[in-house]
Subunit: 141 residues, 2 copies
């Protein structure tokens, strides 16, 4: 976002102009990081279309684009584990979104709080978190 | 990473197997988020090739792949503002990397600490941070 690089704190530009200039990739998507607003824990990274992004801002509840299902993914629509949007920001070249959210329960489809539970330890990758809820309970399978 | 979904805390698998199975995109890249290890601040998101990822793990200093310059991007090589790797993790489908780092000075090429300084406030996008250092000093231009 060249227009804001030289701006001082408190200066701003219209949201509509920012949205119109976002560099969506060839699939029309932009990566969005969800971070728990109070603890700072990074919960997940997923993708948004313009429609998903606009819905998220309008409703204040996070909506992604599911690349596997090729449809809007209203986070929590099957599991009940929603993300309430607290703050959204764009990075310096506006090709990544950061969202501070309030996550109900687990963000991860495995039932774990965060998706980032596979930690490199030397020459191994170790699981560092247990599910909060069994995924069979989350999705009623 | 299907193999670790059902693992208990403390169970692990070889790093070499994880690296060999990473779902790099069509350009051979995977997104990597950098988070300041002690404050939790999300600093930036960039992309890594397998070579960049392996170098980061070997040297303990973060190396990305620069899509604009099409070469390895040893963070801090021109600016001196390096990222020391504290911890690396992979998410549930291992298509995103999260790195806890110790960032020297600004992470952003604008001289700001974090790249995420453009915050949505109602129908405006507002700059919320000043540069720590003038970018002309960082890059000697």
């Amino acid at each position: 976002m060249k227009q804001t690089e030289k701006m001082k704190t408190g200066e701003s530009m219209p949201l509509t102009e920012v949205l119109a200039a976002l560099p969506f990739n060839a699939d029309g998507l932009i990566p969005a990081i969800a971070q728990q607003h109070d603890t700072g824990e990074v919960l997940m990274m997923a993708w948004m279309s313009l429609v998903a992004l606009e819905e998220t801002l309008e409703r204040g509840r996070v909506c992604y684009w599911s690349r596997s299902r090729q449809k809007l993914w209203r986070k929590g629509e099957s599991s009940g584990q929603i993300q309430v949007l607290k703050e959204m920001s764009f990075d310096c070249d506006s090709d990544t979104i950061l969202m501070k959210v309030d996550q109900t329960g687990p963000a991860c489809h495995t039932g774990r709080r965060s998706c980032f539970y596979n930690v490199v330890k030397g020459d191994r990758v170790e699981v560092v978190a247990e599910p909060l809820i069994d995924p069979s309970q989350l999705y009623g399978k």
